[in-house]
């Protein structure tokens, strides 16, 4: 996804003189062609994430479509106030691409892990928060949003689904239909959710858009006795307010399967953490079955 994001941005950078790239040391080699093509519009500010966002805001004030990128922890956490004030409050657009979603940097501890990012950025009015599940989805979402005038946080993941889906801002897609529950999979959680619910009589809804969220599709998918299960690549409960808002008209149950809200001190590959945190297919299936009774 990271390579695809950079390739798409470089492609747009070449074609559209209004695109500016602002980096903070991380990922500079991925964007090398932009720096060669027009160094006036491609800037590496060094290891200064708040300034990266501030400089992107300045570019936007001058009519550019800025693209900034760094790790999710340094984008959503260290530069949070800049995203809120320099971008959101000013009413500016821009694309903020975060790498290393949740615990992709699985051996590096909480300093490089940011499962709170989606909830944090969702707390800034007007921000679009997109979580693609496949490199081709990254390409289509970056192209669809980079110049739409809104600020967009695009959260990349090391793991991705086998197939791309036709994703869009505020769009969700029903992949399976069944009456027992509606299972909403976000971005890279789709394939394991499909595996976990194999043979179960549940609906599976896929979305790469958390902000805005497709409440209509969820509301239209649930049955008379709604059970909604969200499978989230971020802190559990991040989507709870969206589920609540979608189903204000009907009593319902909601189970969130996501990253537990604690610091863990275990290492290994992301897949090892998936298993340890119950976010692999068997772990998800156990919790879905328990919820279905």
């Amino acid at each position: 996804m990271r390579r695809q994001a950079a390739a798409t941005v470089v492609d747009l950078f070449r074609d559209d003189a209004r695109v500016a790239v602002v980096l903070a040391e991380i990922s500079v080699p991925y964007f090398a062609e932009a720096f060669r093509h027009d160094p006036q519009r491609a800037v590496n500010v060094g290891i200064m994430e708040p300034a990266m966002v501030g400089v992107a805001a300045g570019f936007a004030m001058e009519g550019f479509h800025p693209v900034a990128s760094t790790m999710a922890s340094f984008m959503a956490e260290r530069a949070y106030e800049q995203l809120k004030l320099d971008i959101g409050y000013q009413g500016l657009g821009g694309t903020f691409i975060a790498t290393g979603g949740a615990y992709d940097y699985s051996t590096e501890g909480a300093t490089h892990q940011a499962p709170a990012d989606i909830a944090l950025i969702g707390g800034i009015p007007g921000f679009q928060v997109l979580v693609p599940g496949h490199p081709r989805e990254v390409d289509s979402l970056v192209r669809a949003t980079y110049a739409n005038g809104a600020p967009t946080y695009i959260r990349l993941s090391a793991q991705h689904n086998a197939d791309a889906h036709p994703v869009g801002v505020g769009a969700a897609e029903v992949l399976r239909r069944g009456p027992a529950a509606t299972v909403v999979a976000v971005g890279p959680m789709l394939d394991r959710t499909l595996a976990a619910t194999d043979g179960l009589d549940v609906s599976v809804v896929y979305t790469a858009s958390v902000e805005p969220f497709d409440a209509e599709v969820v509301a239209a998918t649930v049955g008379d006795d709604p059970v909604v299960i969200t499978v989230e690549p971020c802190y559990e409960g991040t989507l709870a307010r969206h589920v609540a808002a979608a189903l204000t008209h009907v009593p319902h149950r909601h189970l969130s399967i996501g990253v537990p809200r604690r610091f863990w001190r275990s290492y290994g590959e992301p897949l090892d953490l998936d298993a340890g945190l119950g976010l692999d297919a068997p772990g998800i299936r156990d919790r879905v079955l328990a919820a279905l009774g």
Partner: protein, 224 residues
């Protein structure tokens, strides 16, 4: 129109901010900027060829509001509504509400990095005429993000950027030695009396500077 007229306009402002001395510490420098230095068009606040001004510290905007009103960016009557329900004039300036305000500010340490981006944007557009002036306070420069901008601007060769430091000695930690400190990062540092219009005017004349200029406007301690 004189600075005395602006002082008179400032008395029209309502709300507690009317008495905020941080407005008056900036008044002379702001007046010099808007009366003698910055190229602006009040009838077309977003004119592409304008000079950009950012009140980074955001506090005490009444002097700026009064000058913008005096220059015709918005009706003087607005001053009499400030801080009240329905007004466009809050205690921190909002670019979405006030013509002539380039950036919504108030949280310290944000203006300089944004101004660096604006200066880069002007350069990328090939606009050699306009410049960016950003006003910061001496205590605001406690903020680490300010120093990100202090490091960046000379590194990027932003001769089209001027940082005006209102040094009213309000910082609890020593912030002096401006020439050594900012100079060591590559700034062209100019120390002036913050109330002296002649010195301020001369300091803002940067010509074809290759590096950013820092104008340190000294305001006597205890005077805000």
């Amino acid at each position: 129109m004189t600075i005395e007229d602006v002082r008179e306009l400032m008395t029209l402002a309502t709300g507690d901010e009317k008495h905020d001395e941080s407005s008056t510490s900036t008044l002379d420098a702001l007046w010099v900027l808007y009366d003698r230095v910055l190229r602006t068009d009040p009838s077309d606040p977003l004119w592409e060829g304008r000079d950009r001004f950012v009140l980074s510290k955001g506090h005490g905007p009444v002097a700026l509001y009064a000058i913008l009103a005096a220059k015709g960016f918005f009706p003087r009557e607005w001053l009499g509504t400030s801080m009240r329900p329905g007004t466009r004039l809050g205690s921190h300036p909002d670019r979405r509400l006030v013509p002539g305000i380039e950036a919504s500010t108030g949280s310290l340490g944000h203006g300089l990095p944004m101004a660096v981006g604006m200066a880069l944007g002007l350069r990328a557009k090939g606009l050699d005429g306009p410049r960016v002036v950003v006003l910061v306070g001496d205590a605001e420069l406690n903020e680490g993000t300010s120093w990100e901008g202090v490091m960046l601007a000379p590194h990027l060769g932003l001769g089209n950027l001027t940082m005006l430091v209102i040094d009213n000695h309000s910082s609890s930690i020593e912030m002096g030695h401006w020439r050594d400190r900012l100079g060591s990062f590559g700034w062209n540092v100019r120390l002036v009396d913050g109330h002296d219009h002649g010195q301020l005017t001369a300091a803002f004349d940067v010509g074809d500077a290759a590096v950013p200029v820092a104008v340190i406007a000294d305001i006597p301690a205890g005077e805000w």
